[in-house]
Symmetry: C2
Subunit: 562 residues, 2 copies
């Protein structure tokens, strides 16, 4: 079927020019741009006064952070003009192994959003982590054959790269041999160390938080991903990259984005819009979101409105608002007047579906599982820092006489991480301060990067109840007060994702946030999000794992007792 988009102004991403021209779509391909007429098409769409541009590509995101299945993500993102994403299924892979990658491929097959996959490079993230699996080069290698697998995902283990760790080097060698892309993740690395990291084959980075950091990487040949997600927001610092000679080496990514933000603010369109509001060119933003992303990943025939390119095309109201009116994908209209047209959610193969839906292998929790045996007076506690994923180590004097050491007046709570993948019974329990919780407990199966069960609370009974509720749901988040579940969000897919639509997930998440505050947690504290990183022994300084505390700076386990 040939469709003519007639009367619009086309954004030429090759030259940055605007051209009044008709666009002829021929099935999944753009036939041409020019003085095509209605006679040449089976259908004509009047887009007079509108702007036509290529569909947007999110160059790096974790679908799991949206808590949505790919089809539900599509239903909320495609109306914002996203027609392709490059996804790193790092979270589900930590839970399900390579089956997690296959799950994501199945779950995104045939949806009106092209989901390219980068193979998770660091599962588990550190040797301190107890993930569901351990993925070596050997396990990753067979996955490269899938046509939507573009390369090796963010190589967070930059110390391993610099040290020449054999399995890390094998992963890099495999990707390079197959002509695949290797994504980077090395915040603040610079100079000669950065040279070594890049020379190992790492071709982009999304962790830059300053212009100088970004410019060094561009000069050294990396593609620079300007990240603006829900938590990490680097756009304002990186605005100078919207000018040449840097712009042509940049793309736009969200990394981690919550469903409420996708609904309220949008996706890649939101980043372009913010750049425009800050005085930058929408055309530059569109070039980054299309042609540059395609170039970064070596995608041919994607990211431009030009003959032979994929007919993934947006109709925008104008360049000032970047408001997406219609979306065509592979030549079919999939968004009309801002509304997603219905499509079928793909079926995931049974064994993959079952594996993802049954990701809890642990015993029911009892209150006494959170009991800490008093062995000394001075203990190491994790101190949360407002608005940061960093924590501090704080030495606290524990009064064991009441409530097994918990002291609400000093804001001293318990934190526990319970192994849930392999039925090991491993369990780390300790103290945390800075959360502000006055009663009850919360629990979640979203706890980076291994996604064991993490529980924080004021008393052991509520902690057990919260943890068990997550277990009963097969994953998710729960808020418990006096033994009662007052809010819960089921995330039964690998303990990370919901099967519900984005709006519902956003509502559940909102209810969850509200419930946290009824426990006394001050407004403004995103406790579930903060807690989700308390288990990641990659970010300093003191973290809790299934086997107890880890001093991240010294990269070693430490005792609870000083």
């Amino acid at each position: 079927m040939k469709t003519l988009l007639a009367g619009g102004t086309v954004v030429n991403v090759f030259t940055g020019e605007l051209e009044r021209a008709n666009v002829l779509l021929d099935g999944p391909i753009i036939a041409g741009v020019g003085d095509y007429t209605a006679d040449e098409a089976g259908a004509v769409e009047d887009v007079t006064g509108k702007v036509i541009c290529p569909g947007f590509i999110d160059g790096h995101m974790h679908i799991e952070s949206t808590m949505l299945l790919p089809a539900e993500l599509a239903r909320v993102s495609v109306p914002h003009g996203t027609t392709a994403i490059v996804a790193d299924p790092h979270e589900i892979t930590n839970v399900c192994g390579v089956s997690g990658v296959s799950f994501m491929l199945d779950a995104s097959e045939g949806i009106p959003l092209t989901v390219y996959i980068m193979l998770p490079s660091c599962v588990p993230a550190t040797p301190f982590d107890e993930a569901g699996v351990e993925l070596g080069a050997k396990q990753l290698r067979p996955m490269y054959v899938h046509p939507r697998v573009l390369g090796l995902a963010e190589m967070m283990n930059y110390p391993g790269v610099l040290a020449g760790d054999p399995d890390v080097m094998q992963k890099l060698a495999d990707a390079k041999r197959l002509g695949k892309v290797i994504d980077g993740h090395a915040p603040l690395l610079s100079g000669k160390a950065l040279d070594r990291y890049i020379a190992a084959g790492v071709s982009d980075d999304h962790e830059c938080s300053s212009f100088e950091e970004a410019r060094e990487r561009i000069r050294k040949g990396q593609w620079l991903m300007i990240r603006q997600g829900t938590a990490a927001r680097n756009l304002s610092e990186l605005l100078p990259l919207f000018d040449e000679p840097y712009a042509q080496r940049c793309l736009l990514v969200t990394d981690d984005r919550h469903p409420a933000d996708l609904i309220a603010e949008g996706h890649i369109d939101n980043i372009i819009r913010r750049a425009v509001q800050a005085g930058k060119s929408a055309i530059t933003g569109i070039q980054m979101a299309t042609l540059r992303a395609a170039q970064c990943y070596g995608l041919r025939g994607v990211g431009a409105v030009a003959p032979g390119y994929a007919a993934d095309v947006l109709v925008l109201d104008d360049l000032d608002t970047v408001a997406v009116r219609d979306v065509y994908r592979a030549g079919n209209k999939v968004v009309e007047d801002g509304r997603m047209l219905p499509f079928e959610t793909p079926r995931v193969r049974e064994h993959l579906w079952k594996a993802a839906r049954n990701s809890f292998y642990m015993e029911l929790l009892r209150a006494e599982d959170f009991f800490i045996e008093p062995k000394g007076e001075r203990c190491r506690a994790i101190r949360l820092i407002e608005d940061q994923l960093l924590t501090q180590e704080e030495i606290v004097r524990i009064d064991w006489t009441k409530n097994n050491g918990v002291d609400l007046e000093r804001d001293l709570l318990k934190i526990a991480v319970v192994e849930r993948h392999l039925h090991t019974g491993h369990r780390g329990v300790g103290f945390i301060c800075g959360a502000g919780m006055k009663r009850g407990a919360i629990a979640s199966s979203v706890s980076h990067d291994s996604h064991n069960l993490i529980v924080m609370g004021t008393n052991d009974t509520d902690m057990a109840a919260a943890g068990n509720h997550v277990l009963h749901m097969g994953g998710g988040c729960a808020v418990v007060e006096n033994g009662q579940v007052i809010a819960a969000m089921p995330l039964p897919i690998a303990g990370l994702m919901s099967a519900k639509p984005a709006a519902e997930v956003a509502r559940e998440n909102e209810a969850l946030r509200a419930a946290v505050h009824t426990l006394g947690v001050p407004q403004g504290t995103e406790l579930f999000m903060t807690m989700a990183f308390v288990s990641l022994p990659v970010i300093p300084a003191l973290k809790m794992t299934t086997q107890g505390l880890v001093d991240v700076n010294r990269q070693r386990r430490v005792s609870l007792y000083v």
Copy 2:
């Protein structure tokens, strides 16, 4: 071995910036650019005051046009800064079939010039041609596995693309399926026909002769190759492309370049130099000759002085003269102070060598082979046009009473094309005017694109003698006067290439040109070059083939007699 290039100014092709920095080469790879010191290297080269840039890439050339083997081409081109070429072995493949591709791969293995190969797409060029072979999609397919094969060479058969010819479409489909590049060749095609051609997967073009033609292609997404060769010289018309937004979509190519020009003027360096003399930026030229070429062909890790990139690096005296002082390839110094360092010429496998060295399958010629039987008074003659490959059809009245129709007073000579690949005895003989030859004859095995034996002369005896001398040499060019060979250039490799060094080939070629003028041909007429295209029934209007005259405009054979 680590080598430090210390004290130079580095051209950053990503940003267009110049940076005072040291460059550390680590074996075949660039380790880094920055404040590296002598302590970190095994050897230090002082390049104070010099400019360091990536090695140049010729994005499209026919090695056979240089009449040199790849190793000899390297000996003359690498000192001009060329470290890689993308070659279309179209000529040798017309003679030797896919063995010709293998010959070129063998002959370029391990030389200090990376020879990438595009598979000839149009052998023979037209159905009127009698090439050594006929290459379909099936024959090309297995050749893609070679790591230096980048794609399908210039798709000259654009009518076949537009008409959807099945074998042409299969060739395109194969290249696309394998993620390979498809080079274009479609002069003056524009508008919707160009859209269709590009939409078929053709991603670049090197035939543009005007800025407007080039701009249309860039807007439609093609990479634009700015060609400046020996015959076709498009640089001055295309100079506006050196400015943005076009420059980032352009590369530099020579297409066809004679050895004397390579020696006297240079290669890609010469194009950059000319652009600088015309007021354009050398840095832009260097970007086109390096990063842009790599992007066009999807070459990762080539075309920049940056960590992880191939250590193919030039040391230039300065950016004004683009004078190449030293060349490093894969980290080894291969040119020192402008002089090529010795390297071994690669061995070609015996059966390929033999096939290329024995490319003549025809009988010895006799004078009577050029006799034209008088069947009418009015004949079609080919009229040469000064400085053009185009010819005209001219109706001449033949006086059969003397010299079998040849009439030197009217500048009416004989032209013949003799099949030499398959012993068919096919032979086309007719009349040609505009050459200005007064005595003797010339013959050549370089006659596009099938490279049969072409002979032009004032009398049948000298024509036979010239043709037979080429046959005796196993290929080449000969000038005969009164039965004596007065100049000859042996091209024994497929009848196209010499095995001698560039300087010697250039001298032989010069002697040949001089000898042509002793036959009365006016100075300024490049008769061998012009004659080489008289057999190509792709360029209008009247051409001679092994089976007689072809009217190119009407694409059909025509009789000698009107």
